[in-house]
Symmetry: D2
Subunit: 381 residues, 4 copies
């Protein structure tokens, strides 16, 4: 996995520093003919944008995207799709005093230890603003996935120690996640968590949380054993998000303290049409009596909903005074000002969806080369 | 990430089916001059081999490796290092009745859904035996890492619901992990877990567990933002292991319900020589007052111990009767015979170490290209 | 080699259609700290720009570049460097009548055969204008190479059947190549070739030619056997240019009809300091009595000047009437209007240099991982 | 392009030193279900093996291959296919005196300049014996290509200055190439060239030559612009062969001194069924009135025969005395003994075919992702 390029066939090259001229991405390997418009792109970016109230930063940017290439008359050309978004609200002065300080919980020092040099303004390349590139690229991936009937939906599962019901539990309401600013699938839990987050903000503190994601309509067979497994690629995608500290699939860490007789999902004959995609000749359709696996077996999608959860650490930018070290090696007191989220989860929701879309688009295209009945191959006589 | 090739500069190509002629790997991109011997390779493979008692399968194989290329007069040549291990104990007949059955918790059906065709004997390519290839490749990576003073140590943190003390807690003893068959860092916990595993084996069941890993001596600066982050690559490496269902770094999922003021690791002036590797000009050495981050900030190593934990599901091969579906789509009763681990953890320990070594070797080499003072570059006048 | 991404460590992602909003590229993997400015970028682009008289198209574009990321305070950050150039002179109407025609010698039909859909305006993505992206990326590569003392110089060796003297022959004057619009290293040859090209233009025809390139200051050891050989990567780079039909290194095709006793370059003791770069311990400096190899042996640079020649076919856009086929499969008469080069060579010169720079920058960085004395590796006691 | 891994989807990892334990390769990304047998593999290897008389070395090896993985019940599994061939005839002593000498025309010194260390026996990894790995991998590629009706045929076009007729010229007889040891498509030319080669052998000298290749049945649309063009990848493949010094496609270097009105291949309405593969909706079948392009336009196959020629330098191992330099930097006289080809061409023929097959197999699989009508994509309502 290259530093700034993600994927194998369907790839994304991401670029941009938080306070440089622009953020952007180049999507290569998208097939020709996929309907794609500036409107759909704007819609995806709007879901990520701060300024919507709740726990997010008040930094408001237009985030108006521009498509520079790869789309012609409303459809993709098969050529690279370049998208840029100008950085219009770059109040660099806010960051001048941070130039020679290493903020706790941030990548300031590690970035310098690696490159010897950094753009200190707003975190530069290590800023959360970089996720904008991922959401833009994810919009293209989603346009491709739409033609396969794949649906990706993420939500805030827990924030500030307040958890919403999980799928299958009473009260879980995915539509509610679109209504409250925390994107939690339960109105009451969202209200309690928002209240808790307000308290933290007032006290100069911040909170962590978890984001869960469910993908339906995914055909079985996606994933490239043994290293490019579906869950391996998703794990890389999720841990590539700045504040992510863990990921689990299906029963996850709970499975680790459980028993085989409990965890094994029992194969069952498929209900009619339960498997969307065509199977190879001689392979029966089937389903599973449970989904502890979270939709992936041996690194390959099994036709059940793909389910995973990502753990995000608390936002490190807190206004409470903290001790740190400066460029001269002296201890310094630091009180971070500026505009910062109190909890990253609601804004992480569209980013988790975008990264999931990127992984799935790539695997869908790669899967075409797995067996001859997906190709035009004809046996010699 | 390709299906069977791992890494960018230091790469491993893995091959082999469980009951085919041989397993093996080809390591490309290892620098010339690294001391490497058949003896060290044998030592690594022995740690993974079953037959050592405890919860492991009783299938005993010699696992005698052969180095086919890339090593000359005791040192690596800079050319591909091919290693093979013959599959000598292939009791294929054990698996004949499984040919048309899809075992619960195994990749039998997903593999067929993808490829339309599989080697059913012992799981074929999806067998845990494939991890032998990783351990062999990891032995080369460890020989390279030795020259940097990097030390990788994994252990069974929990099994069958019994947890050992974590590092920093009273009783944690990493040396003990080398003494008991469960590889747990606490004799009492190991004894209790082994007793519990025996009960599960007797009742035809199995258990999950967690494996933790700690890396010391790692220089700061490793990791390739934004997609090739240290934790992202490790997450992919860990989730590429068959039974892995989750991974967390540092405080992990605990961080998700915590606060910024608690989680932020405070930078402190470096103790003398605390940072092993040379830092770029103008960048001060520093340390951290705590290690909730688990040694990685912004996807780059920060000089603290790298710490993470992997969740493994219970071994799916249980002798208790289970219902499943056969190739004709009929429901069938299945009682798995043959030789199987009850808990994957102790044998996963050297595999987790090997995959960690592979990620780190690759990132160490890639990191050389990050800045000019690591190169022979000379500014023009 | 991906479709639109070139390189392994030092990579370029190219994007843009000739008449879309912009052309551009993203350079990933450039080390931090390389001095780079908009001025140097402009200078490189100016060398490629049409409008300079001679055989080039009269389409004049400002080709004003913008650096969107990756450069801060005059130096590279180690992050992706995105560069765009707006397409300001997009007279799409010129191409409307070509929408349903397949021009002879152009990629119109093959592009449709592959993608089912194309941007027909000015050749879209298959336009020679895409080489602008390569020159922009090459400018970054050259800034890196400058710190190694590597010098890359290309020129038009032959055009319209008129050949200039080759290096070593009387009259060869590389400085002259910077003075005449054909970029030929001999004023008289250039004058004769220009006269011939004018005749061809007048008669509605066009000409092919060759471009030669010489690289000095290259350290020995570059190239990644067995597939990523120096000459293999350069060959791919050169044949990725639209009109290129062949490439040869050193004696090239002449070597094929020669004898070993003639072709073998005899190693000789190195003149003092003749080898720029430090050699591994125990390896003597040496030179060669001749350079039939063109500076590359076994796919690895040997310290002699790297020398190769690229063959370019005649520009296919000729104003003479030609028969072709339209979208309905009918035969049609075509007379191409618009602004076109008569011979691609002079404008290919900076592109050949740019592609060479990209190959060399990548190989220089990759070569750091070849042996331990280039790394911080310390043998264990 | 990695050093020892070739391809993007259909990849080959090559390994082995000439006098080490074994040569081999691992093919990843071959779809499941392709018929493949040890017999077909043996057949391909036999064509490359020395000992057949004519200009080849008299070193006779069994070159008996073994398939270690990836093939089950006569068909590929979709998993990595590992093939090894033991090095049985390793007369290392022949090379002992060369340990500290740098042979003219060989990679001895460049290899040391890069790696600081080499296996000097028989050239080690830089030996022509490495091409065995390519032929083995090519056998798998050819088995895949067979299902598409693609036919690859190479021959010696010229050797020792004697040229055979080219396709279209009187006397060109491709079947003759299978009959004479030089693999020339004309019996008389072969006889004259063989006589010339005998003279050179007797005088302790060697000769160069050219190998041409023609591919028929190739569907249009193969090639990944702008960097992964069909001709760019083939050029890299050909120049990755040890003795190759140049490559040209179609009219090649002749085109460089020609005119557009001569070189442009005129599109013509397709003869019935002239285009093998299905074209996208709305794209007409067509042919070309000539094939100066050599079957590739804009880097994409155009349905015409793919035609190219590779220039090989004379074999550098000549028994005539030569001056060179030794490890101490002293001038030494060298007379190479041992078994060596006088002209590499006849043995290069199957290698050129194999590399061509590898490029085409990869591009065929990659091409599936170019447009939606090759995928299962369904537009949303």
């Amino acid at each position: 996995m290259a530093g700034n390029i993600f994927g194998t066939i369907f790839t994304v090259t991401s670029f941009g520093e938080s306070h440089g001229p622009a953020m952007g991405c180049v999507i290569c390997g998208c097939p020709a003919g996929v309907p794609f418009s500036l409107e759909s792109l704007r819609g995806e970016l709007a879901r990520r944008r701060p300024g919507g109230g709740g726990p997010a930063t008040t930094r408001a940017e237009a985030d108006e995207p521009e498509i520079l290439s790869g789309v012609f008359e409303g459809r993709t050309l098969g050529t690279p799709i370049a998208i840029i978004v100008r950085n219009t609200s770059a109040r660099s002065a806010d960051y001048e005093e941070l130039k020679d300080l290493y903020r706790p919980g941030h990548a300031d020092w590690t970035w310098e230890a690696k490159y010897g040099f950094r753009d200190h303004r707003g975190g530069g390349r290590s800023s959360g603003r970089e996720t904008l590139c991922r959401v833009a690229a994810g919009a293209v991936a989603r346009a491709l996935l739409a033609g396969y009937g794949v649906s990706i939906r993420a939500w805030t599962q827990a924030a500030a120690g307040i958890a919403a019901p999980v799928p299958g539990e009473a009260g879980f309401d995915p539509d509610e996640a679109a209504r409250n600013p925390l994107r939690m699938p339960h109105a009451g839990a969202a209200a309690r968590a928002l209240a808790e987050l307000e308290k933290l903000r007032a006290s100069g503190d911040s909170a962590g949380g978890t984001v869960s994601c469910s993908v339906t309509g995914l055909p079985p067979g996606l994933g490239e054993p043994v290293f490019g497994k579906l869950d391996a690629l998703l794990a890389a995608a999720m841990l590539s998000l700045g504040a992510a500290k863990g990921v689990e699939f299906g029963a996850g860490f709970v499975a680790a303290s459980s028993r085989g007789s409990v965890q094994n999902d029992r194969p069952v004959p498929a209900a009619n049409g339960s498997t969307a995609a065509p199977l190879p000749p001689g392979v029966p359709a089937l389903g599973y009596g449970s989904n502890n696996a979270g939709g992936v077996l041996g690194g390959i999608s099994n036709g059940m909903p793909l389910e995973f959860t990502v753990a995000f650490k608390p936002v490190p930018s807190i206004s409470t005074g903290q001790q740190t070290v400066d460029r001269s090696g002296n201890v310094r007191e630091l009180a971070i000002r500026g505009r910062h989220d109190v909890c990253v989860c609601p804004r992480a929701v569209p980013v988790v969806e975008a990264m999931t879309a990127l992984v799935l688009a790539d695997l869908l295209l790669r899967n075409r080369a797995s067996r001859l009945d997906c190709l035009d191959w004809k046996a010699r006589d």
